[in-house]
Symmetry: C2
Subunit: 300 residues, 2 copies
């Protein structure tokens, strides 16, 4: 699992500060999460091939999470994309994008599928053999979802030295990977655990932005390996956070603490703060394993 | 008159290449012309105060000329703007912007006025005491206008040395600026030309992007001091230019030549060309006074 922070700042425009967008590499997928203005250029900077992006998850329809999407969808067309693209986001996203495409008289040369979200309960929005993506209903000024990306339990891993010692043929490996015991040539049962290792642990990433302090997400994101949680403000501006339905660094850390996540990643800083290390200090007092997102950073 | 090139590249996204946007300083106005994705950050880089932008002219609704506008309009709101904003552009621009604002549940705290354009003839879209702005109907894949910015004739300028010699009181200066003769204390007529200089020449800027080769614009842009004309392609790709309704550098120079403009500024280069000096070479063979637009350049 690898997370590339394409942008992690809040809405006011600044040179060298990009609004929210992330690319999650997980089990062979490259999921784009939010798409603020300038995301396509940030993807170029990160040397991400556009064609590998097949699923885009939009948390909410504030511009700093969404206004890069029309340009990206148009660029896919210009670049000759043929692969289908799936967009998951709040109701209205389809009408907005299709209207903009109609105004530009652009017929897409690839299938564009919209998955509009309206539920206020967590729901599975994507699933395949290796990954499940579910919504995390958040509390913001407009309808907003975070997203939980969960790897499914993988195959057991062959202990090739042990397997050789038992004289196991490679044609039997698939059975072992599935956890089955097998028989030796002599007819003896070879216990699976003797010739395999446990599967890699399933990783879990929770993306939560934008949101007020909202402890009811704790059950959904419980024991996530990584939690990205917005921290627009410091505690000194808690009332402003409440008023604008954003969080403080302290509140983000409290959520991380309650949910017993592995690591907290902070972002979506208000541009009023020049010294971002204050966010770390504030969060660390509550939850020790915390890092600051920064544009272009790769977390793995 | 001062022109800041905020972006001058065509649509495909590249690091450090911005789509079309320009800021024209003319007679105390700061007119924004087109607003491709990333324009608000380009304005920040150019240290342009957002509050001074009161009129935005959009040539057409392809994303690389327009997808920076929703973010800019939203940022104006975030930054507490109260001054009215006027947007001039093709029909549909109002519905698109208002729908995006509705989705983000953003009530603007400033008046937003739309001036939707539908005419295929040149028309005056803005006029005050010092400036007139007219459309330049262009020939592109969708409805597109360039814009002609013309300074009005200014006041005559006082020759203060001469005025002092004639003993003229400053209270008479306004009459002189308006071209009138005045009487001395002795009752003699003082001819205006003896104590004034001609007004500054009226500058004229023509912005023409995107367009196929379209000589019928020549009458409208005749003798413009500066002409920005798109040159997406070189002559070697003339058939591609024709097909996509863009121009070559040679065609842009032919328009400049026919219109007898002062200076030709090229831009909107396709990303296929690595060596932009070929655009200069090709244009110079037809029209000598030509420069290449580049992101961040200031022309005055």
């Amino acid at each position: 699992m690898k997370l590339t922070i394409l942008g992690c700042h809040s809405a006011t425009p600044h040179e060298n500060k990009n609004p929210t967008a992330q690319l999650l590499d997980i089990k062979g997928h490259r999921f784009l999460i939010d798409c603020g203005e300038g995301t396509q250029v940030q993807l170029r900077k990160a040397k991400v091939s556009f064609v590998h992006i097949k699923h885009i998850f939009i948390s909410h329809l504030h511009g700093d999470h969404f206004y890069g999407l029309p340009g990206l969808v148009s660029s896919f067309r210009l670049l000759g994309r043929e692969a289908p693209l799936h967009i998951y986001g709040p109701e209205g996203i389809k009408e907005a994008l299709l209207f903009l495409l109609k105004l530009s008289n652009s017929n897409l040369n690839y299938p564009l599928h919209f998955h509009e979200l309206t539920s206020s309960e967590s729901e599975c929005v994507y699933e395949d053999d290796s990954v499940i993506v579910s919504t995390i209903p958040l509390k913001h000024r407009i309808y907003t979802n975070g997203f939980l990306f969960e790897e499914k339990k993988g195959l057991r891993r062959i202990n090739t030295d042990a397997a050789r010692t038992f004289g196991i043929d490679k044609s039997q490996y698939r059975l072992l990977q599935n956890g089955q015991h097998i028989k030796s040539l002599e007819g003896d049962v070879i216990e699976n655990a003797k010739v395999t290792f446990s599967p890699h642990p399933e990783m879990k990433y929770a993306f939560c932005s934008d949101t007020a302090y909202h402890p009811s997400i704790v059950d959904i994101i419980y024991k996530a390996d990584w939690l990205y949680h917005e921290a627009t403000f410091l505690n000194q501006h808690e009332s402003l956070a409440k008023q604008t339905k954003h969080s403080t660094a302290k509140q983000a850390a409290e959520i991380a603490n309650k949910a017993q996540v592995g690591r907290l990643i902070l972002g979506h800083y208000s541009s009023r703060y020049k010294n971002l290390s204050l966010f770390i200090d504030e969060a660390k007092a509550v939850f020790p394993n915390v890092i600051l997102a920064s544009d272009g950073a790769v977390i793995s």
